[in-house]
């Protein structure tokens, strides 16, 4: 008890004048400072939420959102987009035969004709789209080794445990290891413009600059050493089980697009958020300002059908799309803005009614005169 009384004296400044030799002589007052902070009198804005006070906010939101929404909606509608499902589920589909297999790399080819009704101005982006593919599965997402992909020699031959069971194959380390790399999308898409006379012209598809710049240049790197000869670099490794060619032969045409820095590979490695997704495959660059990049007319999509989707009832699509400042075609945001704006406006009206009906009485009751 005594100790605590001392504590009290020391801490709380309890002033028991009769305690302590020599008597209390210190005239220091324990009076709390009269500051706004300590007395909790900080100047403050005190909004009161009543119909009257929030009315303007609702109307303002309504008035701002609806135009924005209309603008977004119009922008989105101006984007050209064409989608082609080439999975080959129906018997009539040209790729039906190819789709029947469950195995990888059956080297089946098919071509799907299609018609563009409207011209595609500016650059056209070619996507491949997969449905029902759960790239976001927890164990799938983890199944990669970023250090290996970053060109770390140690992890090249000894990949991370996370890659299991796609880490080693026949006692050889897999490069790139993991389930993501193993399931790399390996269909080849070629686009031909079919002139009305029936002749086909291949459309030049650019396969670079489809990945994030930082991915290509920072995150993904080939193992250091003799860059010219990736074969030697990767000689102690083996390719993923589902691949029919090693990683250094992904793009035979361009040496800078090989190994881990192959852009198709990089794009694939960026796992999609949702089970239905598209990934940028190629870019069709605008040639000149006079002709549209893709004029209306008939086209043929030639597919090297390697990627099996039957096991998960998936669909494969090829998408051609132009983009605007807000990305691809998606009317959702525009509609959302219009909806929220309208709702706010409506609620504003409701509040106005409430305010008129009850607000007056309230203020009358509150403030006489």
């Amino acid at each position: 008890m005594m100790a605590s009384s001392y504590n009290a004296k020391e801490e709380d400044g309890h002033h028991s004048g009769s305690v302590g030799p020599g008597g209390p002589g210190t005239g220091k007052s324990k009076k709390p400072d009269n500051t706004a902070f300590k007395q909790q009198r900080l100047p403050a804005w005190q909004p009161i939420l009543t119909a009257g006070t929030v009315l303007p906010a609702f109307f303002a939101i309504g008035l701002i959102f609806i135009p924005i929404g209309i603008g977004l909606f119009v922008t989105s509608n101006n984007i050209r987009e064409f989608e082609l499902d080439y999975t080959g589920v129906e018997m009539s589909s040209p790729c039906f035969n190819c789709s029947q297999t469950y195995s990888w790399n059956n080297s089946c080819r098919c071509s799907v004709p299609f018609t563009l009704e409207q011209p595609f101005e500016s650059n056209v982006f070619m996507y491949y789209g997969l449905s029902n593919f759960y790239q976001n599965h927890r164990r799938y997402v983890k199944s990669r080794d970023d250090s290996q992909l970053n060109g770390d020699k140690r992890f090249l031959t000894n990949p991370s445990k996370e890659c299991e069971p796609y880490r080693m194959n026949d006692k050889m380390p897999i490069a790139p290891c993991g389930a993501i790399a193993n399931s790399l999308f390996n269909d080849t898409l070629e686009l031909y413009y079919v002139y009305p006379n029936g002749t086909k012209t291949a459309i030049h598809l650019v396969k670079t600059d489809i990945a994030w710049w930082t991915d290509k240049h920072v995150k993904f790197r080939n193992p250091a050493g003799n860059n010219d000869n990736l074969t030697i670099t990767f000689q102690e490794t083996t390719n993923p089980i589902n691949w029919h060619k090693p990683v250094y032969e992904l793009d035979p045409t361009e040496p800078d697009n090989n190994g881990f820095i192959n852009e198709d590979f990089i794009v694939w490695m960026r796992t999609a958020a949702l089970p239905t997704f598209r990934k940028l495959h190629r870019i069709i660059q605008k040639k000149d300002s006079l002709t549209p990049t893709l004029p209306p007319g008939n086209y043929t999509l030639d597919i090297a059908y390697n990627y099996p989707v039957r096991s998960f009832d998936g669909r494969k699509r090829m998408i051609l799309s132009t983009i605007s400042w807000m990305g691809g075609k998606n009317p959702f945001l525009g509609i959302a803005y219009i909806t929220v704006g309208s709702v706010c406006f409506f609620l504003g009206v409701v509040l106005l009614v409430i305010h008129h009906k009850y607000g007056n009485r309230s203020s009358n009751a509150e403030i006489p005169n």
């Binding site: 008890m1 005594m2 100790a3 504590n7 020391e10 709380d12 309890h14 028991s16 009769s18 305690v19 030799p21 007052s29 324990k30 709390p32 007395q39 909790q40 900080l42 403050a44 005190q46 009161i48 939420l49 009543t50 006070t53 929030v54 959102f65 469950y102 759960y134 790239q135 976001n136 927890r138 164990r139 799938y140 983890k142 990669r144 080794d145 970023d146 250090s147 770390d152 445990k161 069971p165 389930a179 930082t214 995150k219 999609a272 958020a273 949702l274 089970p275 239905t276 598209r278 990934k279 990305g327 959702f332 945001l333 929220v340 706010c344 609620l347 509040l351 305010h355 509150e366 403030i367």
Partner: protein, 1463 residues
């Protein structure tokens, strides 16, 4: 005198018993202490004291080494911590892990380390204070140096000799061996132990009393055998064995306790018996108690619900995952990764694994940081309460202390207040106000004016009131009492407003630092001119007569009464006088004589020769210089010495020569005494140290009439009288005050008349019965009768005026009477068995046939603002019970004065002598209450059938103002007064329900004469049975048990010291601060914390739900789109600060409005900020908001090339913005700190995200968020989402709040609107509202209109009353349906049923205010025989009859809001 003396012991008795039992088990029951100087310090091996604890104290819990393991061990006692560690460890299991295991540990480590740092800091403070204490100095006898040397306290060992000087604090428990005091006494102040500021005497061990020379430690060679260390402060037993084999007993009077201060004694020497942790003070030092607040209990229920939600979500995901796996059958999709071993997982096994994974992923739902946040917020709240200048008392320079850190919010939820009276409601400053001498009243108007003046100096605000109060007081002279009753009442309460200007008070506190009960207000008494004249008259006559050697009996009886009256005031007490020049130095005595202790002594002293000798002597008859007798002297205050020592004294007494005394008998008035008190005439310099403030007040009053106490010794009292000069009265006996006799007496020999006179002072009720009935016929008898009659009348008036009354009486004993009494008294004193009873009887024998001298009226002044505080607290819906040890009359008077009882109220008084009588009384009063307030439920228009459905439909929207937990609170305008004995019966198991039923329906309850134990039992009963929040407030040791039992204990750090404060959770300097503490801080703390907790649940649920929705799109695989860093640090960092700021600073209503509208307090009482449904509403809102935050990005990015974390990061951002804006809606006051914290949170999030996303391209698997945020910031879509999502998410809540604010605002919202009104207008509004009782709710909800219109009310044509009926508080009383106890017994049920249909207040036929409140009361007093108890309905009006009952039935609907009424 009427203070609660001796009651602490009752509380302790139980612990003592327990202790004894424990002790008896021990094998060795004693400790033996030898002197250390007998043993060489170097070889301590053979020192028998070496096993005892040394004086070094260590209150710290940890050492440097043991801190981490011990602290962790303690922290893991908290279940939440174990849970979090379990989850973190679960992460280390590869199959189920969700995050990087190290990262998952981060929050747990953070939480643990924050708590650990807090503990470490507290421990360090303890360490520092320990160190400070350990390094205090004291003088210890050193063997080698052969003198006393300065030592640190920690170096003191058991067996050391210590020299103590005046004003030193005792370092250990010391046995007193020597004292410089000639009586061999040592005075100590025990304020730090029990809070009592009066001095206590301790006595040198008997065998050392006779030492003439100074005590020499080297000659000491005795062995002390005493008890093992124990915590009983009032107990010490042992004996000391000297070398010669002589044994002496040791008692608690010989022991000086650690922590006490030596006073009035120049020097004392003692031997250390217990040291350090074995001292009684330390053993009493129990650690702080951990209390859990109501809000926290409620919160824990919801934490439990969170766990349930978590498990449901996990289970759902697990089943979903199983099904998802199952649909693929044997077709293995490429994204379904095999287990690391390459084996296939069956859907069931994966589901089980997933269940565990989900627990980890969803762990945020259990708010890990909530517990830490709450602690932080509470500490901040405590800081602000502590800093409040309004709770600072300049007079004592102390402010509020929060001793319990974790129950601040309970302050906002109190429903019952249990208050002590003396020192809590009153100042415990007794001020002499008026007196009656020989039937003549002296009203001391000048004194009244002076007291009133103290008030006027104060603030201008009170000016009008106090003037209004003082003005009629001037008129109220003696003759006007009959008519001035009502006036008097109003004055007395008003005059209690202020006790004095602050400056005055402060000066006083400085002056009186060393003496209790001596502020100028108490000391300076302006004498009544009439009485002063009489005193002067009397003095001069006396002088004259003495001069002419006339007999004193020739003085007129009137004057003689006056004379005796003042003598009695001066000497009939136990006040100790100290002189100023040497602080705390006792006035030296030169005449020494012990009280009469033996027959022989008596015979010697009262030989006939001596009786005649010195009739004119102004001094005491004897001046003995017999040193030995003086040393032997034993104050009668101390317990009687054993029979053995009496025998010894007898023999010594025989040896003394009476001749000397006789020869010296005529020596003039003690010259030495006059000399020692330099400038003795300046008696203002003398300090009086009284045990109770009443005594001090009387002594000071007498001094105002120049009758001053000059010195008090064990056997003699010296006083100074006008004209007469100094007189020394031989003090023969002091019969101390006790609460059963309610009086004290002194037996003195009057030096003027040589008569043996008994002066008695005591409660009027007892003294008046002991007055000798006046003789039948003669004029003297008539006069006596008249005096008695008048005095009684005045006493009644005093009582009504709230004064504490004491009667003064005397009795002159003939020598023979005295001798016969003395014989039996001595027998009683020496009796071994039943001594207490014998002494009691002996006292009774002495105190009979008294002659009434007069009576005094002492004002125990109410503290500042007590009536206002009580009124405000009552308007706040708090039930206030006063539990006091005081007598019934005083308690009732004070209750009236502080407006606890209303003159318009009826009072039910319960006084019973037996269990049965008590039962009958309770039944009677229940019936009475029912009969009086009954309206049969069927005829009742406000019966449930009419209103309940209406109400039920709206209940959801309109926060009900009913007290949900308190059960039916039907408060009638009734007061209940119950005395301690009846209370004991009523608290019996069989009667407690009935007692509660009665007490609950009364507006105020007053328990008088209650013991500390009863106080705590009452609190416990109410707390447990009614399930209400209780607050106990008190200032003395007798309130400790009550303070400890209550949910919140408040101590008044007043004059009675620290005991209550030590036990309390909050310590206030004054009672009136309770108002701000509860109404403002309590309200704020509660509403802040409740809102914060709700917000926390919302926040976590909202965040976790985002991930839950995602499970539908990732095959229930436990994947999270939110980066694990964000997931883990979201609560700890990004969203933590704003809620802490809001939780600390938010004010829903300003302090002014809260105090002006105490009704707003009901908000907390009814737990309106945090009701169970609110948790679920918040959960629903959280799920809605998370849906918005999830699906807007979902659709915005549907079928795009967005990757997992580029999609998840916007969701995190949106969630953060939504959560912060949500807080913005809930924030009522926006200071710059709120703005800053929200801005800081957002900036912090983006900064952390940018740094994190730029730091390492390969780390942070699997999210690998390199450059994500940077890229997002370049995406217009991101900004577009940031605008729309929070708005869409918060739209419903915002809309709801706006509608609520307009359509059905809660009282708090109305209060907030009032805040906006300019101050002057607001005050006007509030006053108007109070005066006209307009409902607080400006928008009477429509259903209320309907309610009032249904009431057919032919009697009341007053439209205002209809408005009252419409006030929502009317609902409150109707809403009650059920009680916890109602199902138990049918009778009870019926009662409750009746109760709920009773009108709450203001019955029309009661409006004629009775002039005498006491006239209308119900006396339920059982005859002592225990036969049929008589019920007396004393009323001006006739009691109930049928028409009135009809009126009652009709007026039932007129539930008057009892809240704004304050007449």
């Amino acid at each position: 005198m009427a203070r609660e003396i001796g009651e602490p012991g009752v509380a302790k008795s139980s612990t003592t018993k327990k202790h004894k039992r424990r002790k008896s088990k021990k094998e060795i029951k004693t400790r033996t202490v030898h002197a250390n100087i007998l043993y060489d310090q170097a070889k301590g091996g053979d020192n028998p004291n070496r096993h005892y604890a040394n004086n070094k104290i260590k209150t710290t819990k940890y050492t440097l080494l043991s801190f981490i393991p011990k602290n962790l061990f303690e922290q893991f006692h908290r279940f939440a911590n174990v849970y979090f560690v379990f989850i973190a460890l679960l992460n280390f299991v590869p199959v189920v892990n969700a995050f990087q295991p190290e990262l998952a540990l981060a929050p747990v480590v953070f939480i643990l380390s924050v708590t650990a740092i807090k503990d470490l800091w507290e421990d360090y403070r303890r360490h520092r204070s320990d160190k400070e204490i350990n390094h205090m100095d004291c003088l210890v006898y050193s063997r080698s140096e052969r003198q006393y040397l300065e030592c640190y306290w920690k170096e003191v060992c058991v067996g050391d000799f210590i020299r103590l000087r005046c004003n030193e604090i005792l370092p250990a428990d010391v046995l007193l061996l020597s004292s410089s005091d000639p009586d061999r006494l040592c005075h100590i102040e025990t304020a730090t132990l029990d809070g009592e500021t009066n001095l206590k005497q301790r006595q040198v061990v008997r065998s050392f009393i006779d030492l003439d020379t100074e005590f020499d430690p080297l000659k000491y060679n005795s062995v002390i055998e005493c008890e093992k260390p124990n915590n009983d402060l009032n107990r010490f037993r042992g004996y000391i064995t000297h070398r010669n084999g002589r044994r002496d007993g040791l008692y608690k009077e010989n022991l000086l306790l650690r922590g006490c201060t030596i006073r009035n004694t120049e020097e004392a020497v003692g031997i250390v018996i217990y040291a350090g942790h074995e001292t009684k003070a330390m053993l009493n030092n129990s650690g702080p108690r951990y209390k859990r607040s109501k809000l926290e209990r409620q919160m824990n229920v919801d934490v439990f619900w969170c766990v349930v939600i978590l498990l449901v979500m996990c289970l759902f995901s697990a089943i979903g995952h199983g099904l998802w796996m199952f649909q693929y059958g044997d077709k293995r999709p490429v994204f379904d990764v095999l287990s690391p071993e390459g084996t296939d997982l069956s859907p069931v096994v994966s589901a089980i694994y997933l269940f565990l994974t989900m627990i980890i992923v969803f762990q945020v739902l259990i708010p890990i940081s909530l517990f830490v946040s709450i602690e932080i917020v509470k500490i901040c709240q405590v800081y602000f309460i502590h800093q409040d200048a309004d709770l600072y008392d300049e007079e004592t320079d102390s402010h509020l202390q929060c001793r319990a850190l974790n129950i601040t919010e309970d302050l906002g939820q109190m429903q019952y207040i249990f208050s002590d009276k003396t020192g809590t409601l009153t100042e415990n400053k007794m001020v002499f106000r008026r007196c009656i001498v020989a039937g003549v009243e002296y009203s001391h108007d000048a004194n009244a004016r002076r007291l009133a003046m103290y008030q006027e100096v104060d603030s201008e605000e009170d000016e009008g009131l106090s003037r209004g109060g003082t003005l009629p007081r001037k008129e109220s002279l003696t003759s006007q009492h009959s008519g001035g009753k009502a006036v008097l009442r109003s004055q007395s309460t008003k005059s209690h407003r202020r006790t004095g200007s602050r400056a005055e008070a402060k000066r006083a506190s400085i002056l009186s630092k060393h003496t209790a009960f001596s502020s100028p207000m108490e000391k300076d008494i302006t004498p009544d001119p009439q009485l002063r004249d009489k005193v002067n008259d009397c003095g001069s006559q006396m002088e004259f007569m003495r001069f002419h050697n006339q007999l004193l009996s020739q003085i007129s009886p009137d004057l003689q009464d006056v004379f005796d009256f003042f003598i009695a005031l001066t000497i009939c007490n136990t006040v100790v006088v100290s002189s100023p020049n040497q602080p705390r130095q006792k006035v030296r005595r030169f005449e020494l004589k012990s009280p009469v202790k033996t027959i022989e002594d008596f015979i010697k002293r009262f030989t006939p020769s001596r009786l005649t000798s010195a009739s004119s002597s102004s001094s005491s008859t004897s001046l003995a210089t017999n040193r030995s007798s003086s040393h032997r002297a034993c104050s009668s205050l101390l317990s009687s010495p054993s029979a053995e020592s009496t025998l010894a004294r007898l023999e010594e007494e025989r040896g003394a020569t009476p001749g000397i005394r006789g020869a010296l008998g005529t020596t003039p008035a003690c010259p030495h005494a006059g000399g020692s008190v330099a400038g003795g005439s300046d008696e203002g310099e003398l300090r009086y140290e009284a045990e109770s403030p009443d005594e001090a007040a009387l002594v000071y009053a007498a001094r105002a009439y120049k009758c001053s106490l000059v010195g008090r010794l064990a056997d003699q009292v010296t006083i100074e009288l006008p004209h007469v000069g100094r007189l020394s009265f031989e003090l023969l006996h002091t019969l101390a005050f006790d609460s059963t006799r309610k009086r004290m007496s002194v037996v003195v020999r009057n030096p003027l008349t040589e008569q043996i006179t008994v002066y008695t002072k005591g409660a009027d009720s007892v003294i008046m019965d002991l007055i000798r009935p006046p003789a039948a016929d003669d004029s003297k008898g008539k006069r006596q009768r008249k005096i008695l009659f008048k005095t009684q009348n005045y006493l009644n008036l005093y009582g009504m005026d709230g004064l504490r009354t004491l009667c003064i009486a005397k009795r002159v004993l003939s020598k023979e009477q005295y001798a016969s009494w003395l014989r039996r008294h001595l027998e009683a004193e020496t009796a071994i068995q039943g001594r207490e009873e014998l002494l009691f009887e002996s006292a009774l024998r002495l105190e009979t046939d008294l002659h009434l001298l007069g009576a005094t009226g002492i004002e125990d002044r109410l503290q500042d603002g007590v009536p206002e505080t009580i009124a405000a607290l009552r308007r706040a819906g708090l039930q206030i019970w006063v539990l006091t040890g005081d007598k019934q009359e005083t308690a009732i008077n004070i209750a009236y004065a502080c407006k606890l009882l209303d003159p318009e109220e009826e009072i039910i008084t319960l006084n019973a002598d037996s269990q049965e009588a008590c039962a009958v009384l309770l039944d009677e009063s229940l019936h009475y209450i029912q009969a009086k307030f009954l309206c049969s439920s069927s005829a009742d228009p406000c019966a449930a059938g009419v209103f309940q459905p209406d109400y039920a439909t709206l209940q959801f929207h309109a926060p009900p103002t009913s007290s949900g937990t308190a059960g039916p609170v039907v408060v009638h305008r009734l007061g209940l007064v119950i005395d301690g004995r009846t209370l004991a019966y009523a608290l019996d198991k069989s009667l407690e329900d009935k007692f509660l039923a009665v007490a609950r329906s009364c507006r105020s309850v007053l328990c008088c004469r209650s013991t500390p134990l009863q106080k705590s039992m009452v609190v416990k009963l109410v707390r447990d049975k009614l399930k209400v929040m209780t607050l106990a407030i008190g200032d003395g040791a007798n309130d400790v048990s009550m303070i400890q039992v209550a949910d919140v204990g408040v101590g008044i750090s007043g004059q009675e010291g620290m005991q209550a404060v030590m036990a309390s959770d909050f310590a206030l300097p004054r009672f009136q601060y309770l108002q701000k503490l509860l109404l403002v801080h309590g309200h704020w703390c509660y509403s802040r914390l409740a809102n914060m907790i709700l917000y926390f649940f919302y926040k976590n649920a909202m965040f976790v739900a985002l991930i839950f929705w995602y499970q539908f799109y990732c095959g229930f695989s436990g994947s999270a789109m939110i980066d694990q860093w964000y997931l883990i640090f979201f609560n700890l960092m990004f969203s933590a600060f704003p809620q802490l700021i809001t939780g600390t600073l938010d004010k829903d209503v300003s302090a002014d409005t809260l105090q002006e509208l105490p009704q707003l307090y009901m908000n907390g009482q009814n737990s309106e900020e945090y009701k169970p449904y609110m948790f679920w509403m918040n959960m629903i809102d959280a799920f809605y908001q998370s849906l918005v935050c999830f699906f807007i990005p979902y659709f915005a990015y549907a079928d795009s090339d967005v990757d997992l974390f580029t999609w998840g990061t916007p969701i995190t951002t949106l969630a953060l913005l939504t959560i912060l804006l949500h807080l913005g809606i809930e924030t009522k006051t926006w200071t710059w700190m709120n703005w800053a914290s929200i801005a800081f949170s957002i900036v912090l999030f983006f900064m952390v995200a940018m740094c994190y996303n730029a730091s390492c391209p390969t780390c942070y698997s699997p999210s690998n968020p390199y450059w994500t945020m940077q890229r997002l910031l370049g995406d217009p879509l991101f900004y577009l989402m940031c605008v729309i999502t929070p708005i869409a998410a918060l739209l419903p809540r915002y809309f709801y709040r706006a509608c609520q604010g307009s359509l059905f605002p809660s009282p708090v919202q109305v209060g907030r609107q009032l805040d906006k009104v300019p101050l002057g207008l607001r005050r006007h509004l509030v006053n108007q509202r109070t005066a006209h009782r307009t409902p607080l709710y400006p928008l009477g909800p429509p259903f209320l209109k309907g309610c009032s219109s249904k009431i057919t009310d032919p009697y009341s044509s007053n439209p205002k009353q209809k408005a009252q009926a419409a006030s929502p508080i009317c609902l409150k009383s109707m809403e009650m349906k059920d009680t916890p106890g109602s199902s138990k017994n049918p009778v009870n049920h019926l009662e409750h049923h009746d109760e709920l249909s009773l009108p709450s207040s203001e019955i029309i036929w009661l409006t004629s205010t009775p002039l005498m409140p006491q006239m209308e009361c119900v006396q339920l007093i059982s005859p002592p025989s225990g036969a049929s108890p008589g019920v007396t309905y004393q009323k001006n009006q006739e009691s109930l009859d049928c028409p009135q009952q009809n009126i009652l039935k009709q007026t039932c609907g007129e539930r008057l809001s009892d809240s704004p009424d304050s007449q």
